[in-house]
């Protein structure tokens, strides 16, 4: 993934076409895409449950509108930062078609990156609808009004996207070692659900879950952008959380690079 000058120029020059073809592919996959989106509606189920529990007295510091805001924001972040790159890589490795990608003079990391970025317009369209619902519902009352925080929210989502892509790229690269990565994906999702705040806000969960979450990447993939979007926070706290995201971007990118590098060495030794 380390590039020399001429390779950077090639990637930059090719990127618009890679994105355009990626958008066409997303549109071609639209039915599968919509079905995939429907499978990511768990926050809506949790929202119904938690608003019911929190009516009146609230629950561990969250009122019913605060839960609505939290879960809708979680759904937006999940829609915008989700990625199917691992399943795509697994499929290509299993079918042997990764070979075709390796014989192109652009590193597969960038071609996969473009294909995942290309899905963002469709994901954003869905997120706009969700955001409109968020603003139109009682959840809007709890949203922050500070302009700086509003500016930091998309930055936090972008960093979350990068961590998410790197993690999924790492899982996909593991298919170069393992014959089957479905179980790995399931294990990942179990950990993600618990430690990212996808299931419940982290501060409503018993110790040591919130403390452990602070040392894992999942919180920085979901809870952090959701908090920046939905809580009135001191700007220093926001910047501190974004700093944590930057660290995880660097760590997960390094992990993705290392796993790919090791995996490809193995692929070059035994083939597929």
């Amino acid at each position: 993934m380390r590039l020399h000058g001429s390779e950077i120029a090639r990637v930059v020059k090719a990127f618009p076409t890679l994105l355009r073809v990626g958008v066409s592919e997303t549109v071609a996959f639209r039915m599968a895409f919509l079905i995939w989106i429907l499978t990511a509606t768990q926050p809506l189920v949790m929202m119904s449950l938690m608003t019911f529990i929190a009516r009146g007295q609230g629950f561990r510091g969250y009122s019913a509108p605060a839960f609505i805001a939290y879960y809708l924001a979680a759904l937006i972040v999940r829609q915008l930062t989700g990625s199917w790159v691992s399943s795509r890589m697994t499929e290509e490795i299993r079918m042997g078609t990764l070979a075709m990608r390796l014989l192109r003079p652009i590193h597969p990391f960038y071609t996969f990156l473009a294909s995942q970025l290309a899905a963002i317009p469709l994901r954003a369209a869905i997120s706009v609808v969700l955001a409109a619902i968020l603003l139109a519902t009682s959840g809007a009352a709890t949203l922050p009004h500070d302009l700086t925080q509003l500016v930091l929210a998309p930055i936090s989502i972008t960093l979350s996207w990068l961590i998410s892509f790197s993690v999924f790229f790492t899982i996909g690269s593991l298919a170069l070692f393992l014959t089957e990565t479905t179980a790995l994906g399931t294990a990942y999702f179990a950990l993600f659900s618990l430690f990212s705040g996808y299931l419940m806000p982290l501060d409503t969960l018993p110790q040591p879950i919130p403390v452990l979450a602070g040392w894992l990447p999942f919180k920085f993939m979901l809870a952090v952008p959701v908090m920046v979007m939905t809580r009135e926070l001191p700007i220093t706290t926001c910047l501190h959380m974004l700093g944590g995201q930057l660290v995880w971007v660097a760590l997960t990118l390094a992990l993705a690079r290392w796993t790919w590098h090791r995996g490809i060495k193995r692929f070059e030794s035994v083939g597929s």
Partner: protein, 307 residues
């Protein structure tokens, strides 16, 4: 239960001491039975596999480094693996290849026009790849693989699953591309006719080892010098004794007979057939390559057993 905790590993030398050089513009057939190491060799040459020992270079490059300069010169077509984007028309894969290979637009359009004409792709370019027939898809695969103008073609079973007409079209295209671009072609195919029609030189490997490298005709002559003489009699006969004096009867289909005749006896047999038996449709051919290779692989197996 034991296999749950410890797995037995066996080291297999997929390719062992294979050595050859191919000159620019040559068309070489790469033959061997299943599991002989053909695809492994092609993958090593194209940079997908890293040889554990030995040396291999393609146009001065070490393939497994997959340098951009090499990737721009080579292509690998695997009949059973597609590079076309399944849900999009081939034109989208071509646009993608144009971008990643950084092909200048005028050169891209000229190459696409040439390939569209040679492969008769009109009407296929805007059809989703998943809707193309196997033959149509293979033609589109070839175009995708050649748009960047590679000078070295590694073709692994490019005609697999195609009907006879499509096999002929693909063969004809490969020959024309080779002639027009002075491209080097290394071809594997289970269809011997592909090899016979395209490759003056063949390299044969069996169980990872090189067993022949040279002229196709010389190989045939060395292993089975006898000719196949086919003819049609005015009416069917059942007298094998009479025919047996001319040569070994290899096939009999009504009045159509195929004999195996040594080169030395050929003139006499032919004049006898024409002069005495009034045969029609007389044809003289070398033995089919399949038969020759069967003899060769059989001999190699025997030698391996004796070792």
């Amino acid at each position: 239960m034991k296999t749950l905790f410890s797995r037995n590993h066996e080291t297999v030398r997929a390719v062992d001491g294979v050595s050859f050089t191919i000159e620019r513009g040559e068309r070489v057939g790469f033959l061997g039975p299943n599991g002989a190491g053909k695809t492994t060799t092609l993958k090593m040459l194209s940079g997908l596999l890293h040889p554990t020992a030995g040396e291999c270079t393609v146009d001065g490059h070490v393939p497994f480094r997959r340098e951009v300069a090499l990737l721009e010169k080579i292509t690998l077509v695997m009949g059973q693996k597609s590079q076309l984007i399944w849900d999009l028309p081939p034109s989208e894969t071509y646009a993608l290849n144009c971008a990643v290979f950084d092909i200048p637009k005028p050169r891209f359009h000229a190459a696409l026009e040439e390939l569209t004409e040679l492969l008769e792709l009109g009407g296929l370019l805007d059809k989703p790849a998943r809707q193309l027939s196997l033959g149509e898809r293979m033609k589109c695969e070839l175009a995708a693989a050649l748009l960047h103008g590679p000078s070295v073609l590694f073709l692994d079973e490019p005609t697999i699953g195609l009907d006879v007409a499509m096999q002929l079209a693909v063969r004809d295209f490969i020959r024309r591309y080779n002639q027009a671009h002075q491209a080097t072609v290394l071809l594997t195919s289970h269809y011997m006719q592909d090899v016979v029609a395209l490759c003056p030189r063949i390299i044969v490997i069996d169980r990872g080892k090189l067993v022949h490298d040279g002229d196709l005709k010389a190989l045939v002559k060395a292993l089975d010098p006898d000719k196949r003489v086919s003819f049609t009699l005015p009416h069917p006969i059942n007298d094998d004794d009479a025919l047996g004096k001319l040569g070994a009867v290899l096939a009999r289909d009504g009045a159509r007979i195929t004999l195996r005749v040594s080169e030395r006896e050929l003139p006499g047999v032919v004049s006898h057939l024409l002069g005495t038996l009034e045969v029609a449709d007389l044809g003289i051919e070398d033995p089919p390559l399949e038969d020759v290779l069967r003899v060769m692989f059989g001999a190699a197996r025997e030698a391996a057993v004796n070792e």
